[in-house]
């Protein structure tokens, strides 16, 4: 996901630059794109190297702010970003703006109070959201720099800012981008999605101060529209039971059901379920125990192509190291991963 600028691979650009079926102008354009991409990749590699060395010299870089600014923009049902800035989202009279502002601020509080993290990048990065994106848009995304929320069609889905888990899910993609740096394909993509669902669920539980025995694990429950509810759907995904027939988009339960080209929102089923199982076995509040292990695993060094087994083993090791502080977490994490075949 740190590669958002270069999603056309180098070999594809080279192939297109030589394709005799394309016009001379188009071949030249692809050749130029490839040349620029090569130089930009060098810059990115250099920037990453500089960041790593700077962190070694000064491990606690100065933060932009002690708490992030939260900014809201109105797309006015167009798709031009970021939209018109709202100088006072709370008093704007726009309920989407109010929700986006308050919940984003709450997520920032969640990360700071629970995990000691200052915003998405750990250095007080401004948290920017655009609302009213498109017309009846049934989606929310993190585009590499900001969150974007559609209003829903008021049939299948309502305004996506109604979902605390949605907002935390999107912000967590930013957090992952700045830490583990998982890609968005293959097993890394499934892990990327799972981490966002895990932190989405955790934030929703933290907001309501719910422990394991008094919560649900239903992703997207709060954005379902009347048509979805009339058909007895309760969620998009269910971390407690990924194959739940009441899910709009049921998922596999076990790692053996995952195939190499599976889309991330499908392959996130098994790691989602492992997180839920571990939380259930440990008991208490998810963010205080298993959530801490997952946070440590995510911030323990980048691995854009990480496999699910590697992530599972990373959480196992960290759980063992922290078993005195969080009794029982090592056994719980190990059992949970084994249950999903990892």
């Amino acid at each position: 996901m740190s590669c958002t600028c270069f999603f056309i691979p180098k070999d594809i650009l080279e192939k297109l630059a030589k394709d005799p079926d394309l016009s001379k102008e188009l071949r030249k354009a692809f050749q130029h794109s490839n040349q620029i991409s090569v130089e930009l990749r060098k810059m990115r590699t250099g920037a990453l190297s500089l960041t790593k060395k700077a962190r070694m010299v000064a491990p606690f870089p100065e933060a932009l702010a002690s708490f992030p600014s939260v900014t809201i923009f109105d797309c006015k049902h167009l798709q031009t970003l970021p939209g018109i800035p709202l100088s006072n989202p709370v008093q704007s009279g726009d309920s989407s703006a109010l929700r986006a502002f308050k919940k984003t601020t709450a997520v920032a509080n969640f990360f700071q109070k629970v995990f000691g993290r200052n915003s998405i990048d750990g250095a007080g990065m401004t948290m920017m959201s655009s609302i009213h994106f498109g017309v009846n848009h049934n989606n929310a995304i993190w585009n590499g720099s900001q969150m974007i929320y559609g209003d829903g069609d008021n049939q299948i889905f309502i305004d996506f800012t109604n979902g605390s888990d949605v907002i935390s899910h999107e912000l967590t993609h930013g957090f992952t981008q700045h830490t583990l740096q998982l890609g968005y394909t293959g097993e890394a993509g499934g892990l990327n999605e799972s981490i966002s669902d895990c932190f989405g669920a955790m934030f929703r539980q933290w907001e309501a101060n719910q422990d394991i025995n008094h919560t649900d694990w239903l992703i997207g429950h709060d954005i379902l529209g009347p048509v979805a509810r009339a058909k007895d759907y309760t969620c998009l995904r269910n971390m407690a039971n990924p194959s739940d027939p009441h899910c709009i988009a049921p998922q596999p339960m076990k790692y053996s059901q995952i195939t190499p080209n599976m889309k991330p929102h499908y392959s996130s089923g098994p790691p989602n379920h492992a997180f839920y199982l571990a939380c259930k076995l440990v008991g208490g509040k998810s963010w205080e125990k298993v959530g801490k292990i997952w946070y440590l695993a995510i911030t323990d060094g980048a691995n854009p192509r990480m496999k699910m087994k590697e992530f599972a083993d990373r959480t196992r090791n960290l759980a063992s190291q922290n078993d005195t502080a969080i009794p029982g977490v090592a056994v719980a994490v190990d059992k949970a991963w084994k249950h999903v075949e990892l």
Partner: protein, 97 residues
């Protein structure tokens, strides 16, 4: 609409998991090539000529699967939302089965 003029469009993915295996959410539509502006037609044509299948780069973004008929066979491409003209994006309708 004649088959050869038609683009079959499917929107996949997103936060809600449109069009995934087992998903009850679908987003499909059709648009005639003759309805596209010259600029939009040029974009679609380039995607088909490249015969490309892009992976999504933005978390929870949609991508589009577009199929057209060429003689007796079909060609399908997949591309992220930001590469697809708005006129093609807007031809799909979201359905919950």
């Amino acid at each position: 609409m004649e088959d050869l003029d038609l683009l079959k469009v499917e929107r996949i993915g997103g936060f809600c998991g449109f069009g995934l295996p087992g998903s009850h959410l679908r987003s499909k539509g059709e648009i005639s090539i003759s309805e596209l502006s010259p600029e939009d037609l040029g974009v679609i044509d380039k995607l088909f000529r490249g015969n490309l299948h892009f992976a999504s780069s933005k978390a929870d973004a949609f991508f589009y699967r577009i199929t057209r008929k060429i003689g007796d066979s079909e060609q399908t491409i997949e591309a992220p939302e930001e590469l697809i003209p708005l006129s093609v994006q807007c031809c799909v309708k979201d359905i919950l089965e």
